[in-house]
């Protein structure tokens, strides 16, 4: 009798254990991301359009071959991914099949490998957009995700709601607009930049190309520029209720162009480095504007 009871107990425990294992395995299988890979041959300079309506990261790198490779990883049964080629245009879209109640519940991540000369239009909600070594015009949009660009060139347009931008070794033209996101432009050589944010901080530590135009405007955040004594630029800095912190006064000649001399007060400054060939406009409503010389 006692032996029977023990055997029954073992049987029940084994059954329960097996059930738990099956359940865990089923859950793991269900949660495992679904991966797909697509290859598209292109002839010339392709355009890749990616509309990610759900959360997720987009990573773009370049290769020497004339091929676009799209690798997607998404939540199974929760995201629909469409990939289509029309000539040299690759259209990719990811849409949610269910409404998410938890972060990263409905997610699609993309890794793209594109030719070096490629135009990009990428859009996602959250998650990083990372682009490296791509030459071509690009429009990148995100709600809450950050945008990280490295060694890219072209006319670059970045729009975010709360995400920030980091642009390293970029060339060409850059437009950045955000409400909560800031922007850092480092080691870049851009002909024209226009950085606008409401609460984010802006930093430009790059080359000032002669005849370039550099506009940086943050309503509540700080604006900081670093220049070298060999640069040639006019700096027009204005903060409505904040301050202008000029930490390179010995290198900036005030009143180089006459009419601005009366403006050089605590929240307004106009100065020139070299011949004043590049035009730098810094503006803030209530933030601090810092002007520094590179060591």
């Amino acid at each position: 009798m006692i032996l029977n009871l023990k055997q029954n107990k073992r049987t029940v425990l084994s059954a329960v254990g097996t059930g738990i294992l099956f359940s865990a395995a089923a859950t793991a299988l269900a949660a495992a991301p679904e991966q797909k890979e697509h290859h598209f041959e292109v002839k010339g300079r392709p355009t890749v359009v990616l509309q990610n309506i759900v959360d997720g990261r987009i990573e773009v790198k370049s290769s020497k071959s004339l091929e676009v490779v799209v690798i997607s990883s998404s939540s199974p049964q929760k995201v629909a991914i469409d990939v289509e080629q029309v000539g040299d245009r690759i259209d990719i879209s990811a849409t949610g099949l269910v409404n998410s109640t938890q972060p990263h519940e409905v997610e699609a991540n993309f890794t793209l490998t594109v030719p070096e000369q490629t135009e990009l239009q990428l859009k996602t909600q959250t998650g990083l957009i990372y682009v490296e070594q791509v030459n071509g015009d690009m429009q990148l949009e995100s709600v809450a995700g950050d945008v990280n660009l490295k060694e890219v060139s072209g006319y670059i347009i970045v729009k975010t709601t709360g995400g920030s931008l980091k642009c390293t070794q970029c060339t060409g033209k850059l437009d950045f607009a955000s409400i909560g996101g800031g922007a850092q432009v480092l080691q870049s050589s851009l002909m024209k930049i226009n950085l606008m944010t409401t609460t984010g901080n802006l930093l430009y530590d790059g080359e000032f190309v002669r005849t370039g135009i550099y506009t940086m405007k943050s309503t509540k955040g700080s604006v900081e520029v670093h220049f070298s004594p060999t640069d040639s630029l006019d700096v027009d800095a204005r903060s409505l209720t904040g301050t202008v912190d000029n930490q390179a006064a010995e290198f900036l000649r005030p009143d180089a162009h006459g009419p601005h001399h009366s403006r050089n007060r605590g929240n307004s400054f106009f100065g020139t480095v070299g011949q004043g060939l590049a035009k730098v406009e810094l503006s803030s409503y209530s933030g601090t504007i810092r002007i520094l010389k590179r060591p």
């Binding site: 759900v54 972060p103 409905v106 709601t161 409401t198 409503y285």
Partner: protein
């Protein structure tokens, strides 16, 4: 034919076919060529949009009433009774969200245009105190509050700066600084902004804006930030009505708000 005549032809008769005089002017005028090209792109884009329900009639009534108040259009008449213009025919092509967003953006762009072209260049008189003038309260709800995006009522901002600039002083003569600023149709722009955006501001307290918890939180937070900036700029402009820099920031904030609202509405459209 002058540019304004060409614009009148476009407004009344649409893009095609243009009268001979208009064609002749178009061939010579680059500005009108740009305008024509932009409109062509807009119409083309509109035609590609799938059909959907019309925007609410109250929006057209509101827009038309606002334009009449600002003297932008004349011959007030009931919207429903008048002969449909070409641009009204476009409404059937637009989705409501796109239309409402585009309307708000156009209103903001027009307001910004007027704002920056009405003041003499370089006039920044932050030290000029606000004149003692009659104050015209902006349109508000009967309970005296303007609903915020977060659902909680916020105090109505102080009277819009243009109201201060345009209102006649009761007793004191105008200070010299104010006399340089002739009241223009754009004087009501700032007062009309909140009303116009109220019409298009989505219900951000709904269960889901983008179908993403993190994105929703970001959108709500940034809408709150923009509303706070707008309130701050308006408060500053009440004190310094001639501050062009503050006007620029206010216009910029409204533009950002319009874009943010468009982002929210765009997501709603794509979820349909």
């Amino acid at each position: 034919m002058q540019c304004k005549d060409f614009e009148a032809v476009l407004e009344q008769e649409g893009l095609a076919p243009l009268p001979l005089a208009a064609k002749s002017h178009l061939a010579q005028c680059s500005a009108c060529q740009n305008l024509f090209a932009d409109l062509s792109v807009l119409v083309s884009a509109a035609q590609q949009l799938p059909a959907e329900m019309n925007p609410p009639q109250r929006l057209w009534v509101s827009l038309r009433a606002q334009m009449e108040r600002e003297g932008l259009i004349k011959q007030p008449m009931a919207v429903a009774e008048e002969k449909a213009h070409w641009w009204q025919a476009l409404t059937t092509l637009f989705k409501p969200r796109v239309l409402v967003t585009a309307g708000a953006a156009l209103a903001l762009a027009f307001a910004a245009f007027l704002t920056f072209h009405r003041s003499p260049m370089g006039v920044t008189n932050r030290s000029t105190p606000a004149p003692s003038v009659a104050q015209v309260p902006p349109p508000v709800q009967p309970n005296g509050v303007r609903p915020s995006s977060s659902g909680s009522p916020i105090p109505v901002p102080d009277p819009a700066p243009q109201a201060i600039a345009s209102a006649k002083p009761r007793a004191n003569p105008k200070p010299p600084a104010i006399q340089h600023f002739k009241p223009s149709p754009s004087d009501n722009v700032y007062a009309s902004f909140p009303v116009a955006l109220q019409d298009v501001e989505p219900n951000v307290n709904g269960p889901s804006l983008r179908g993403s918890v993190e994105a929703d939180a970001s959108l709500r937070e940034n809408l709150r930030v923009i509303n706070a900036v707008i309130a701050e700029c308006r408060k500053h402009l009440k004190k310094y009505p001639n501050d062009t820099m503050a006007r620029e920031y206010l216009a910029s904030a409204y533009r950002q708000k319009a874009e943010l609202v468009a982002t929210i509405l765009d997501s709603g459209r794509s979820e349909q």
